[in-house]
C-alpha cells in the first residue's frame, strides 16, 4: 500500500505501546499478580461469599433493567429525533448528551434530590407506594440515566443512514406501514439496538458515582459490587477486593469483546442494505 513511506512509524507506535503499558496494562496486571497470591479455593470463596453474591444480583439485575429501559426509550427517542419535526427538537437532542457530560457524583446527587419522598418527582411517587430512593428501583433509574446516551447515539446514525427509497419500495410492493417497520427497518436497526444495549449494560455494571447516593448502600439489599470493592479496600481487605475486582474485570473484557463483535455485525448489516 506504500504507507510505509510516511515517517514516524517506529516512534509513534513505540510511544503508544510504552505509554499504554505504563498507564493501563501494568496497573491492570497488578490485579492479576495480586490475585495469584491467593489459591483458587480462596479466590472462589471470596468471590462467592453471600455478600458478594447479593451484590452481583443487585448490580446485574439493576443494570439489566436499566439497559432494557434504555433500549425502549432510547430507540423511541432516536426515532423521534430522526424522523419527526417538532418544537423543541434541538433542545431534546442536546439534553440527550447531559447524562454523559455530567460528573457521575452530580448525577447521583441530582437524581436523589428529585426522587426523594420530598423531591420534585418523588412526592408524586410516594402516595402510589413507590419508593425510588434507597431501593433497587432507584439504582435502576440512576443506571438508566447514565446509559441513555449510549442507545440514542448508537441507533440515531443508523436511522439517519436508512434510505427512504427502500421504504417506498416496500410500500409500492404492497407492504403495510407496520410490515415495513417490522421487516425492513427493524432488521437494519436491530444490531445498533443490541450494541446500544450492551454499551449501556457494560457501563452500568461498573458504575459507582451516580449510584452510591441513591442506593442507600444496605448490605445484601442495595449494595452494588463496585461499592463492596470500595468498602473492602477501606478495611484493607485487599484479597477480598481483588477477588471481586477480578470478577468485574473479566465481565468487562467479555462485554468489550462482544461489543466490538456487535460493531462489526452492525457495519455488515448497514453495508448490505446501502
Amino acid at each position: 500500500m506504500g504507507k510505509r513511506t510516511l515517517p514516524g512509524f517506529g516512534l509513534s507506535l513505540g510511544y503508544t505501546i510504552v505509554y499504554l503499558s505504563l498507564i493501563v496494562l501494568v496497573p491492570l496486571a497488578t490485579l492479576v499478580i495480586k490475585s495469584a497470591e491467593l489459591s483458587w479455593g480462596q479466590l472462589w470463596d471470596l468471590a462467592t461469599s453471600p455478600r458478594a453474591l447479593a451484590s452481583y444480583r443487585v448490580t446485574f439485575g439493576a443494570s439489566l433493567v436499566a439497559a432494557l429501559i434504555n433500549v425502549v426509550f432510547g430507540t423511541l427517542l432516536a426515532w423521534a429525533l430522526v424522523r419527526y419535526e417538532f418544537w423543541g427538537k434541538r433542545a431534546i437532542d442536546a439534553l440527550v448528551d447531559i447524562p454523559f457530560a455530567l460528573p457521575t457524583a452530580v448525577s447521583g446527587l441530582a437524581l436523589t434530590a428529585v426522587l426523594a419522598p420530598t423531591g420534585a418527582i418523588g412526592r408524586f411517587l410516594e402516595p402510589l407506594g413507590i419508593h425510588a430512593v434507597y431501593t433497587p428501583l432507584g439504582i435502576s433509574l440512576a443506571l438508566a440515566f447514565i446509559g441513555l446516551p449510549f442507545v440514542v447515539r448508537t441507533v440515531q446514525p443508523v436511522l439517519e443512514e436508512l434510505e427512504p427509497e427502500i421504504e417506498e419500495a416496500a410500500n409500492v410492493l404492497g407492504a403495510s406501514r407496520w410490515q415495513t417497520i417490522g421487516r425492513v427497518i427493524f432488521p437494519v436497526v436491530a444490531p445498533a439496538m443490541v450494541t446500544g444495549f450492551a454499551l449501556a449494560f457494560a457501563r452500568a455494571i461498573g458504575e459507582y458515582g451516580s449510584v452510591v447516593f441513591i442506593s442507600g448502600n444496605k448490605q445484601m439489599e442495595t449494595e452494588i459490587t463496585p461499592l463492596l470493592v470500595m468498602s473492602r479496600l477501606e478495611q484493607f481487605d485487599y484479597p477480598g477486593a481483588t477477588a471481586l475486582a477480578l470478577v468485574m474485570l473479566v465481565t468487562s473484557f467479555v462485554l468489550l469483546l462482544a461489543i466490538n463483535g456487535l460493531g462489526a455485525w452492525t457495519r455488515r448489516r448497514i453495508g448490505a442494505t446501502a
Partner: protein, 285 residues
C-alpha cells in the same frame, strides 16, 4: 409516465413512509416527557437546591477555602492528565491511522479498555501497586515517596479514566482524511517535523480540540477512581466531586448542591463547546 403522475406517486409514497398522526404524536410526547422528567428536572433541581438558602449562602459555599482548594486540586490533576493523553492520542492516531501492522486491531481494543473498566477498579489497581501494602509499597516507603492519598495518585487515576478520549477522536478522523498532503510535503522536501507541524496538525486541529474538551470534562468530573486513591483529606486531597460528596454526607445539602452546580456549569460549557466544534467539523469536511 407523465410528470403529473410521477408527482402524484411521490406524494403517495411520502404519506405511507411515515406513521399515522396519532402515532407520531404519542412517540413525540413520550420522548419529550421522558427526557423532561429524567434529564431536565434533575438538572433544574441541582440549581434549585443550590440556591435554596439564598444567593449569599450559594456564593459562600463556592468561595469556602475547602471548596477553592478542591477546585485547585481538580484543575491541577486535569492540567497534567489531559496533556499526557493529548500527546498519546496524537502518537496513537498517527501509528494506527497511517500504518498497517500485526496486532493493530488488538491495540485499538486495548486503547478502549479503560472505558470498559469500572472507575473503582481503575483507582484500585494503583492502590495495589503503590499503596502501603501494594507491590511497590515497601520500596516507596523506603524512598519516602507517596502516590496514594496524594496528588500523583489522583493524577494517575484521572489519566487512566480519560486515557482513550483524544485517541478515539483522532483515529477515525485521520483515517478519513488520507495522507496525500503529507506525502506531497515530503516529496517537496519538508522534514518529518515540518510535515507534522504544517500539514498534519492543522488538518486534525478541530478533532484534537474536540477530544481535549471531552477529556477535560471527564477529568474534572471523575469521582469513583479518584475517590479510591484520594483518602479524602479535606483541603488537601479532595477534588471538587469528592468535596460534593463530603458536604452531602455532612448534611450540608445547600453547600453540596452549590458546588455541584459549579460542576454542572462546567459540564454544560463543555457540551456547548463540543456542539460548536462538531458543527464546524461538519462544515469543513
Amino acid at each position: 409516465m407523465t410528470v403529473a403522475t410521477l408527482g402524484h406517486a411521490h406524494v403517495r409514497a411520502r404519506a405511507t413512509t411515515t406513521e399515522p398522526g396519532w402515532v407520531r404524536a404519542v412517540i413525540i410526547a413520550v420522548s419529550v416527557v421522558f427526557i423532561g422528567l429524567f434529564v431536565a428536572v434533575p438538572l433544574v433541581a441541582v440549581f434549585a437546591s443550590a440556591l435554596r438558602d439564598g444567593l449569599g449562602a450559594y456564593l459562600g459555599a463556592i468561595v469556602d477555602p475547602a471548596a477553592l482548594a478542591a477546585l485547585r486540586l481538580t484543575l491541577e490533576a486535569a492540567a497534567i492528565a489531559v496533556p499526557l493523553n493529548l500527546v498519546f492520542g496524537v502518537a496513537a492516531a498517527w501509528a494506527i491511522a497511517r500504518f498497517r501492522f500485526p496486532g493493530r486491531s488488538l491495540l485499538i481494543t486495548l486503547i478502549d479498555l479503560p472505558l470498559a473498566v469500572s472507575p473503582v477498579i481503575a483507582g484500585m489497581v494503583f492502590v495495589l501497586l503503590f499503596g502501603s501494602r501494594g507491590l511497590l509499597g515497601p520500596w516507596m516507603a523506603a524512598h519516602h515517596l507517596r502516590v496514594i492519598f496524594a496528588l500523583p495518585g489522583i493524577v494517575l487515576a484521572t489519566t487512566f479514566v480519560t486515557f482513550p478520549f483524544v485517541a478515539r477522536e483522532l483515529i477515525p478522523l485521520m483515517e478519513s482524511q488520507g495522507h496525500e498532503e503529507e506525502e506531497a510535503a515530503l516529496v517537496l522536501g519538508a522534514s518529518p517535523w515540518q510535515m507534522f507541524v504544517r500539514i498534519t496538525l492543522p488538518k486534525i486541529s478541530w478533532g484534537l480540540v474536540y477530544g481535549v474538551v471531552l477529556c477535560t470534562a471527564r477529568a474534572l468530573g471523575e469521582f469513583g477512581a479518584v475517590s479510591v486513591v484520594s483518602g479524602h483529606i479535606r483541603g488537601s486531597t479532595e477534588t471538587l466531586p469528592l468535596h460534593v460528596e463530603t458536604l452531602y454526607n455532612e448534611y450540608a445539602y445547600g453547600a453540596a448542591f452549590a458546588v455541584a452546580s459549579l460542576l454542572v456549569l462546567i459540564a454544560l460549557l463543555g457540551l456547548v463547546v463540543r456542539r460548536l466544534i462538531a458543527a464546524r467539523i461538519r462544515r469543513t469536511t
